[in-house]
């Protein structure tokens, strides 16, 4: 009874902390600007099914892709076991689903095989990350917490799987010895190899291992649940909404700013009175062009920042990054997330209000040099396994640089001037545009 109560309290604490953190992140994301992604529901479900559920873009890199699918399938399927654990924990039963008979044997056997595959994949990932010279794991932005975060998760997964398999091994021994409460159920294709580890223990010892591992497993999962919300591993949840809300237009298209369209329409309208005072609009907030700070980005872009799992495929495909420029698309996403987290925390400390802290995403986190290195080639967008667009943030920040601050490299200013004056980015007169026809 005490165990059941303790169990219920642990689950409540884990779920409670998780929910609180979700609320915080949701509020942060919703600080972003409005963008309509509620259209074309059928297409959106399809994209989500293909990209997130089906891991369609992961396999573009076969080794990492297949290993990732092993962990992904293992994670999703083994969590069916979680349901039984929760029922057992709350009701004080043991292996509540054992009544399924042969189906149960198949289930447990499958979990065990998947657990072994997860361990294998985690070990391979750990070696790739720490022992091999894979450039995208060694970029400057990966120093400190991001690398530790990645390794912590890999180690934690291996330990959790080991606990799960040890629990089964001890259960298997208990079943063979016919101990009280240990009904004969399940098949143990993998954990049977762990039996020698615990075979020498007394009956009490075996039960202690089984119970200990059971508690360790469930407490570990609850800790993991809270931890992911602070980690790059939050992608396991956000990958789904993030792909659902994907930009469905072709990759080459860039949005036309509605605020600018209004101004241009006014300028081009021969009937407009150029001296007219703007009509009073009580809801009007001063229009900001482009993104200077994280809340100037759209909620979708902020969701992307929280979805990014820092795999670095974007950075490894980026032509600027490959040629030694400062730009790393992954860093753009990480900076954006760090900034919106910071703003969120300050809001909380300030009773929900945000009055600024003298810092901005553009300038204090992301430099102009990074922004000007982008060729807008969309390789980062193409590479992202969960449809994030680092390029979108880069281009929105250029908009702020140009339209808010009039800051651009001199040659870019000349290009603007040429277009304005001659209708071409170079200083050639428009009248000469047809000259090539005479040269034919």
């Amino acid at each position: 009874m005490i165990a059941q109560l303790l169990f219920a309290m642990c689950v409540a604490a884990g779920v409670g902390l998780f929910a609180k953190r979700i609320g915080f992140i949701r509020r942060n994301i919703l600080q972003g600007q409005d963008v309509n992604r509620s259209d074309r529901a059928t297409d959106r479900w399809k994209v989500m099914a293909r990209v997130a559920l089906g891991q369609g873009k992961m396999v573009a890199r076969p080794v990492a892709g297949v290993m990732h699918i092993m962990i992904y399938v293992g994670f999703v399927v083994i969590n069916i076991e979680l349901l039984e654990i929760v029922i057992d924990g709350l009701l004080g039963t043991h292996r509540a689903f054992a009544f399924l008979g042969p189906v149960y044997d198949v289930l447990i056997g499958t979990f065990e095989v998947l657990a072994a595959l997860v361990v294998l994949a985690c070990v391979v990932f750990f070696v790739r990350r720490n022992g091999m010279a894979i450039a995208r794991f060694r970029s400057p932005e990966m120093g400190g917490w991001p690398s530790l975060d990645a390794n912590l998760i890999l180690v934690a997964e291996v330990i959790l799987m080991f606990a799960f398999l040890s629990m089964n091994a001890a259960d298997h021994i208990a079943q063979t010895r016919g101990l009280d409460h240990y009904i004969v159920a399940g098949s143990f294709p993998v954990s049977q190899w762990l039996v020698p580890l615990y075979q020498g223990l007394s009956d009490t010892g075996v039960v202690a291992v089984e119970r200990g591992m059971w508690w360790f497993h469930i407490l570990g999962i609850l800790c993991f649940l809270v931890y992911v919300t602070y980690s790059k591993h939050f992608h396991i949840l956000l990958a789904f909404p993030n792909t659902y809300y994907s930009d469905l237009t072709v990759q080459g298209a860039m949005d036309n700013m509605a605020a600018v369209k209004k101004e241009v329409d006014l300028m081009m309208n021969p009937n407009a009175d150029p001296f007219a005072a703007p009509a009073p609009d009580p809801d009007a907030s001063p229009v900001k062009f482009g993104a200077k700070d994280a809340p100037d980005l759209s909620w979708k872009q902020l969701m992307e920042a929280y979805t990014c799992t820092e795999c670095g495929r974007c950075t490894s495909e980026c032509p600027a990054n490959q040629t030694g420029k400062l730009l790393s698309p992954r860093k753009i996403m990480m900076d954006t997330r760090d900034r919106i987290e910071e703003i969120g925390k300050q809001r909380d400390a300030n009773g929900g209000a945000w009055e600024g802290d003298g810092k901005t995403l553009l300038g204090d986190y992301i430099t102009e040099e990074e922004l000007w290195a982008c060729t807008s080639c969309q390789a980062c967008v193409q590479a992202c396994p969960v449809n994030i667009s680092p390029m979108g943030i880069v281009l929105d920040m250029r908009r702020s640089l140009i339209m808010e601050d009039s800051k651009s490299p001199e040659s870019i200013t000349s290009m603007f001037n040429n277009i304005e004056n001659n209708g071409a980015p170079w200083a050639f007169p428009a009248a000469n545009r047809g000259d090539w026809t005479k040269e034919a």
Binding site: M257, M268, P319, C377, Q378, I412, T437, A440
Partner: protein
């Protein structure tokens, strides 16, 4: 090679004629000496296939692409408004262009601003002409059996998902087509997009086009085929930098087809000193 005159839309309209398609030349195609040769090749092909076409001439203006990608949405939308007014004034329905940047903007960004046209990249248009039997490469065309690799322009390939048209057209040359290590969805940028063409590269350890030239050299080609005037400049520069300009030609697909169909004289792209 016969001479012919390229009519402007203004002239044609004055004579009460309507062209089948507007040839949107673009700024590079109008002013850059190397790109002008691509423009002429496209015009030759259109003329040869008896496609009634016109250009805007002095009435054409920058689509605003480099301004938009550099962050100047005002300038972009001003350019768009001006171009759309001209295009709609002439009731233009179909556009073909030799520049993937113009293609992308006209096709994807103008509709929302009031400009709705059927827009084709020249490789798509040429493919249609070949499919319709209106354009054929000559027997014993100069590229038969030669090793050609195609460099995907970002705004044709990744940007608009068109990987087939340029390859289909090259396929008619009876040449040996070789793909670079990074091609199609994974193609590496030439380094000119996003307004980079108009500025110095940021600090780094090498130029993007030099990096891309490595991919080119790995395929050991005789010709690098391009579909974008900016890519053409960057690849020409890259090949020169690798001191391989005597053995590798950089040519637009329109030039290759025009030469193969005996519409323009075969010429090396590099000016021999």
């Amino acid at each position: 090679m016969s001479t012919f005159s390229v009519p402007t839309l203004a002239d044609m309209t004055a004579q009460g004629q309507t062209p089948e398609v507007l040839f949107w030349v673009g700024c590079a195609g109008s002013f850059d000496d190397r790109a002008k040769r691509i423009t002429k090749a496209i015009a030759r092909i259109l003329h040869h296939c008896e496609v009634p076409f016109a250009v805007l001439g002095a009435e054409e203006s920058c689509t605003g692409d480099p301004a938009k990608r550099a962050g100047n949405e005002f300038l972009f939308q001003m350019q768009a408004a001006q171009n759309i007014a001209v295009l709609n004034g002439y009731e233009v329905k179909r556009i073909v262009t030799g520049c993937p940047h113009c293609f992308n903007v006209l096709k994807n960004e103008y509709p929302e601003l009031g400009g709705n046209y059927e827009v084709m990249h020249h490789t798509q248009f040429i493919r249609d002409l070949i499919d319709q039997g209106r354009l054929k490469v000559a027997d014993g065309n100069p590229f038969k059996g030669r090793r050609i690799t195609f460099h995907d322009p970002c705004y044709l390939g990744r940007g608009n998902g068109e990987y087939a048209a340029p390859r289909d057209v090259l396929g008619t040359l009876d040449a040996e087509l070789v793909e670079m290590r990074r091609c199609k969805q994974n193609g590496l940028c030439c380094g000119a997009g996003g307004a980079q063409m108009f500025k110095e590269a940021e600090k780094g350890n090498r130029e993007v086009n030099h990096e891309r030239t490595e991919d080119v050299l790995d395929t050991n080609p005789q010709v690098v085929a391009t579909g974008c005037p900016f890519c053409n400049t960057m690849m020409t520069d890259g090949v020169k930098n690798a001191e391989r300009e005597s053995s590798i030609d950089v040519k637009d697909i329109a030039e290759l087809i025009a030469e193969a169909a005996d519409l323009i004289p075969t010429s090396p792209t590099q000016d021999t000193p």
